[in-house]
């Protein structure tokens, strides 16, 4: 049994600091080295560059629908009838699982543009089927109305509206 002198204590402290500094810096370096290996799985520059799609609406007749591809996903562009619009607007929002007025989901009421991917588990819904005249997802039975809102079934949210703008009356740019 010995007692430690102040010098020894100092020595121990200096040593501990050294170990912590070396270990800490080593850990920081390792973490920094790991980042490129994670980041590489994110979309590459060429994929990001393709992030907009333009669509020509002039050929879509009232009541019909066009599917275009944006970022590898189907985009439904529906030319809605008066009836579609009326039924989309005439809904008690309180009854909806994901309440959202139709006016928030369109730029021009006759054109509904949305990502055609079921918000449940990613299947592509079928048009003109289901109980609400909109879309029906065959995978697990989600029903969407003429505004693409979820009405019945397991999906938690309305079909997503992508960012888009009208370039002129007949052309939109998605993304």
């Amino acid at each position: 049994m010995t007692t430690t002198t102040p010098e020894e204590e100092n020595g121990v402290k200096r040593r501990d600091f050294l170990y912590i500094a070396a270990g800490g810096l080593g850990a920081v370096g390792t973490a920094a080295a790991i980042w490129p290996f994670i980041s590489q799985m994110n979309p590459s520059a060429d994929v990001l560059a393709l992030s907009t799609t333009e669509a020509d609406l002039s050929g879509i007749e009232v009541g019909s629908e066009l599917t275009v591809v944006w970022q590898g996903k189907p985009i439904f562009v529906r030319h809605r009838t008066e009836q579609d619009i009326a039924s989309a607007e005439d809904v008690d929002l309180a009854t909806l699982p994901d309440p959202q007025p139709d006016s928030e989901r369109v730029i021009k009421p006759e054109w509904l543009v949305m990502i055609g991917i079921c918000t449940h588990l990613g299947c592509v819904p079928l048009k003109g089927q289901g109980d609400y005249g909109g879309w029906f997802c065959p995978c697990h039975g989600s029903h969407y109305d003429t505004s693409g809102r979820i009405r019945k079934g397991p999906a938690p949210a309305n079909l997503v509206i992508p960012p888009y703008e009208f370039l002129d009356d007949n052309n939109i740019k998605i993304g």
């Binding site: 490129p36 290996f37 980041s39 590489q40 590459s44 520059a45 060429d46 994929v47």
Partner: protein
């Protein structure tokens, strides 16, 4: 020596699968000679490089397309578009060279200190198997970017097998999966290039297992005799290896960031063209000594046999070396011969990169002959006739005898 974990979770695992105990023995308490120099760092650096190559390789495979129409452009896609793709690809390409540098130093350290001698023959063999697997992996990896050197390297190396009498041509066709190096060849090389590193990792485990069975050699070549001679691997050698790793990474980074194409060939930035051979076909630098041996022989089959023989003869080393002493420190003549042999290998490397003509051819032949003379004639003879210096009684005696004069010098200064 038994392992008794304090952490209940580790104890729970240990009782069912003694893996923590194995790791503890291998990385923590492994009794290591106390006098290992930095030459013993290259083993763990080689292990580190294997991990780097596997990790970067898996990442590159996520972006690479093994098809003759897309391979070249997919590599450029990695270089230009993938996030940090240039970094990871240069790491992998230069990493191959770094791996070989480290492994060559590791091998030469073994030659200098007689690490291949009994009871470490199998350890040496496993190391040579790793070396052969590395060569196969590196060769197939170089084919993948599908540049001119990829294509023509693959053509030349696979054609080596056509030297085999009777079945040679059939074997080459079988290797190619066609009548020339083409898409089937690229596809199978990609598959095997992905597979072999994991085989290497398996043999590395055997290599380390064998090492830990016979114990590490050391600069004196005298085995550990008692507790005084050894220290636990951790913290002494973990921290020493970490310092070695940091220094090595600086060397690696210098190439990676400032001369990433220095060790490669400009021709490999030209897409493969089966109709035009580049003017100078040269393998990667780590194959140059063997390439020089191949070209030194004016006969096709002879050259191929001699080239493979240059590696295979190393398997016989533990029996060719007749000396009872391991370390060259106590073998005055072998020490000289060792350095001449190193110079000979460097000369072969140099000749391998030069055109096979004139003086280069003559020097290539002299160096080739010397390579085999050293291993097959000088090594057995010197072991019989050499008078070794007196060995230290033990490792600790050797360490102490070195410390004293150093301290006296310090006192005088």
């Amino acid at each position: 020596m038994s392992f008794e974990p304090k952490n209940p979770a580790i104890k729970w695992v240990e009782d069912r699968l003694p893996l923590p105990g194995m790791l503890h023995h291998a990385l923590y308490e492994y009794p290591t000679p106390k006098n290992l120099s930095y030459w013993w760092t290259f083993g763990s650096l080689a292990g580190f490089m294997l991990v780097v190559q596997i990790v970067t390789g898996i990442v590159l495979a996520m972006h690479y397309t093994p098809h003759v129409d897309h391979a070249f452009n997919s590599v450029e896609h990695i270089m230009r578009d993938v996030n940090y793709g240039w970094l990871i690809r240069y790491m992998h390409a230069n990493g191959a060279s770094m791996f070989f540098i480290v492994v060559y130093l590791h091998i030469f350290r073994g030659l200098y200190y007689g690490s291949y001698k009994a009871p470490r023959e199998l350890l040496w063999w496993l190391g040579l198997v790793i070396f052969l697997l590395m060569m196969a992996t590196a060769f197939m990896g170089y084919v993948l970017p599908w540049g001119q050197m990829s294509f023509w390297g693959a053509t030349v190396i696979t054609n080596l097998f056509s030297a085999i009498p009777l079945v040679g041509d059939s074997i080459v066709t079988w290797l190619w999966g066609g009548f020339a190096v083409d898409n089937p060849t690229l596809n199978r090389f990609f598959s095997l290039h992905y597979l072999l590193p994991f085989v290497i990792a398996g043999v590395v485990i055997l290599h380390i297992w064998s090492l830990h069975t016979s114990g590490s050699n050391n600069p004196t070549g005298v085995e550990i005799k008692d507790k005084q001679d050894s220290i636990p691997f951790h913290p002494y050698y973990t921290v020493k290896d970490l310092f070695g790793l940091a220094i090595f990474l600086i060397f690696f980074s210098a190439f990676l960031f400032y001369a990433p194409n220095y060790l490669g060939h400009p021709d490999n930035y030209i897409p493969a063209n089966p109709l035009v051979t580049p003017a100078h076909i040269v393998p990667e630098w780590y194959f140059l000594p063997f390439y020089a041996i191949l070209r030194a022989v004016p006969d096709k089959l002879g050259g191929v046999l001699l080239m493979f023989g240059a590696i295979l003869v190393l398997f016989a080393l533990p029996w060719l070396d007749k000396s009872r002493i391991r370390s060259a420190r106590f073998r005055p003549i072998y020490k000289q011969l060792f350095w001449i042999f190193v110079a000979d290998c460097i000369l072969l490397t140099y000749i391998g990169g030069k055109p096979a003509e004139g003086a280069y051819l003559i020097w290539g032949r002299i160096a080739t002959v010397y390579y085999f003379v050293h291993l097959l004639i000088l090594l057995p003879l010197v072991g019989l006739f050499e008078k070794p210096k007196p060995l230290p009684a033990s490792i600790s005696e050797d360490v102490l005898s070195k410390k004293k004069p150093a301290k006296e010098e310090a006192a005088n200064a």
